[in-house]
């Protein structure tokens, strides 16, 4: 098993021109060694296993209802069809739900990131009485399960007359103590010298925050935004409780009502599942570098 170690040394010399600069490559794992072939097979097998359930749902969504109900394999006896998609899109409500999900998730994300970043900056950079206590309270609140809050929150929304309104859906979701914690840790790492230079030049706290701290933290802000967006988009319990009006429902809640009504139409159910998932899968494919790097820079790794 010392082979890879010996194989590595020629790669380290300048003549190893063919090696790709791969960020995730760790030394000692580049060559077509038996170990790497084995790893590749294991990886491929696991990846296929992980993709299969979703691929199978996609395949089913292109079947006729008869084929789907008889348990057809990849392509049913009647061949592929887009009937299921046509049936769902004809319902009209799906567009409204998707639109609701999109704008409410975007609103929650924007508000959460803005207020969390400001609070995190204050906790990281500013001196004020009670700072330790307040930050401690915010950190401690991370362990509060959101489910414990649903009943009093529901009462509060009743009192504010916000039940069955978009505001009632959005506002309670903008408190994210974990995000404040992550952003504070990030601001702690930004060299204070950069800010001091700006302050010597006469920039106030707001200027420094806006034109130095925020631009430097673009990567982590993107990562936080993506995670908030994913979890808000997929949130079920709160939208399920607070919204009754069909026209105000989000996609997960709206689809759930349809499923309860037409539970046996498998092709349509799967087509709905695929339609509801596509936006986030596209989002991940576009931003996957930021997501992975974001997790890395949150300080979860290492240390």
């Amino acid at each position: 098993m010392t082979t890879t170690a010996q194989v590595r040394s020629p790669l380290a010399t300048p003549d190893g021109a063919g090696t790709r600069p791969d960020r995730t490559t760790k030394p000692g794992a580049r060559r077509l060694s038996p170990l790497n072939i084995l790893a590749f097979l294991a990886l491929a097998l696991m990846a296929i296993g992980w993709l299969l359930p979703f691929l199978w749902a996609v395949a089913t969504s292109f079947m006729t209802e008869t084929d789907a109900a008889s348990g057809g394999s990849w392509i049913g006896p009647s061949g592929p069809t887009t009937d299921a998609y046509a049936a769902i899109l004809a319902q009209g409500n799906v567009y409204i739900w998707a639109f609701n999900s999109l704008w409410t998730s975007a609103a929650v994300t924007a508000i959460t990131v803005a207020i969390s970043a400001m609070a995190a900056y204050a906790f990281s950079r500013l001196e004020f009485p009670g700072r330790k206590f307040l930050f401690g309270a915010v950190i401690a609140s991370i362990v509060v399960p959101p489910q414990v809050l649903i009943i009093p929150l529901f009462y509060e929304m009743l009192a504010f007359n916000l039940v069955d309104t978009p505001l009632g859906l959005i506002l309670p979701q903008v408190v994210a103590p974990a995000m404040v914690f992550i952003l504070k840790k990030f601001f702690d790492q930004v060299p204070i010298e950069l800010e001091d230079a700006a302050r010597v030049d006469g920039a106030g706290r707001v200027r420094v925050f806006w034109s130095i701290a925020l631009p430097l933290s673009r990567g982590i802000l993107a990562a936080v935004a993506i995670f908030v967006f994913i979890s808000t988009w997929n949130n079920f319990l709160w939208p399920f409780l607070i919204i009754n009006d069909t026209n105000l429902m989000t996609l997960p809640v709206g689809l759930q009502t349809v499923i309860s009504a037409y539970g046996v139409q498998y092709a349509q159910v799967m087509a709905q599942a695929v339609l509801a998932s596509l936006p986030l899968i596209v989002l991940f494919l576009i931003f996957q570098k930021q997501i992975v790097r974001g997790v890395a820079t949150t300080g979860f790794g290492g240390t």
């Binding site: 794992a29 990846a47 489910q147 414990v148 009093p152 103590p177 706290r205 997501i291 949150t298 790794g301």
Partner: protein, 316 residues
């Protein structure tokens, strides 16, 4: 370092921003004003939507409040006494703990194996990341639909897989013997991607020099794995286990939806019981009391883990 920086900055602030109302205030007071400017929006939301509901919920748990506003009288510890003597509450708690044990082990181990394999830097990185993380992007509604379909006893894929191995078909979600395992399988598939990313990030943070030094000393891949990689993952593993346990204890969405909203004695989680007591039985006071029993358990686990972590930190 922090002693000089504020001194320098306060001096510049006083002269640097004329016209501000607090011009004559000391630097510290100005700093405090700025801090509250930054903090206020978050703190308002924090108090309104977290602190206040938390306190109000505690108050509700001592009343017999119902949804309609009827009742609401103070009942002391009656709700808590009832909860502690309620077999359904204990059963739900037991189910939740059982689910947490069943799901945490594979969710940590599989994530580690996935991250170690992907970190080898083999070709098609984006494909591996997408495969393992993609389910995490799906709504609980979607994963429930997919897995109800897979676990369909007549036409689902799960029984076909069993048939390949010559095993008898199961009534997965319909049978009380198997429905919890079906929910665990779906949950592992759904959420392992997040832990996988955390492990991958931790692996990328291990300095390459350590491997180079070990390789020069003649350490092979297995030796490097045991002596460098795994020990360095200790801290992130503690973090992942804590996050995972806290997440698993909150089981509700997928279990509720995979069983079509039907309460099953073998899968009803504590959160589902909170939901049923409050929003089906309209007993908000009782529901709040169960919430606080649940919260107390989470806090106890959190405190125990924090102590364990601190001791670990002191040792290293």
């Amino acid at each position: 370092m922090t002693t000089t920086a504020p001194a320098a900055s306060t001096a510049t602030v006083v002269t640097g921003r004329p016209g501000a109302r607090v011009r004559h205030a000391t630097g510290e007071r100005r700093e405090t004003a700025a801090a509250w400017g930054f903090l206020t929006p978050f703190m308002i939301a924090f108090v309104l939507f977290l602190v206040w509901p938390l306190l109000h919920g505690l108050y509700l748990s001592f009343t017999d409040q119902s949804l309609t506003g009827a009742g609401g009288g103070f009942v002391g510890f009656a709700n808590y006494a009832e909860a502690l003597g309620d077999p359904v509450m204990w059963r739900s708690l037991g189910n939740t703990v059982w689910f947490t044990i069943l799901s945490t082990v594979p969710l940590v181990l599989l994530a580690l194996v996935m991250a170690l394999l992907v970190h080898r830097g083999l070709p098609a990185q984006w494909l591996w990341r997408l495969s393992f993380f993609m389910p995490y992007l799906l709504a609980s509604t979607v994963i429930s639909q997919i897995w109800v379909w897979i676990f369909n006893p007549q036409i689902g894929a799960a029984n076909r897989v069993l048939a390949w191995f010559g095993l008898e078909p199961l009534a997965w979600l319909q049978s009380p013997d198997t429905n919890m395992y079906a929910i665990v399988i779906a949950t592992v598939w759904w959420t392992v991607g997040f832990n996988f990313l955390l492990y991958l990030a931790a692996l990328q943070n291990i300095p390459a020099q350590q491997y180079e030094a070990a390789a020069i000393d003649g350490a092979g891949p297995w030796r490097q794995l045991w002596s460098i990689t795994l020990p360095q993952l200790g801290q992130v593993t503690v973090l992942i286990v804590i996050l995972q346990m806290l997440a698993s204890l909150k089981l509700f969405d997928q279990a509720y939806q995979m069983l079509g909203g039907v309460a099953s004695d073998t899968t009803r989680s504590i959160v589902q019981y909170i939901y049923e007591a409050g929003f089906v039985g309209y007993r908000f006071g009782y529901s709040s009391a169960i919430s606080y029993v649940f919260f107390a358990i989470i806090v106890i686990i959190g405190v125990v883990q924090a102590f364990a972590m601190r001791r670990r930190g002191e040792q290293s």
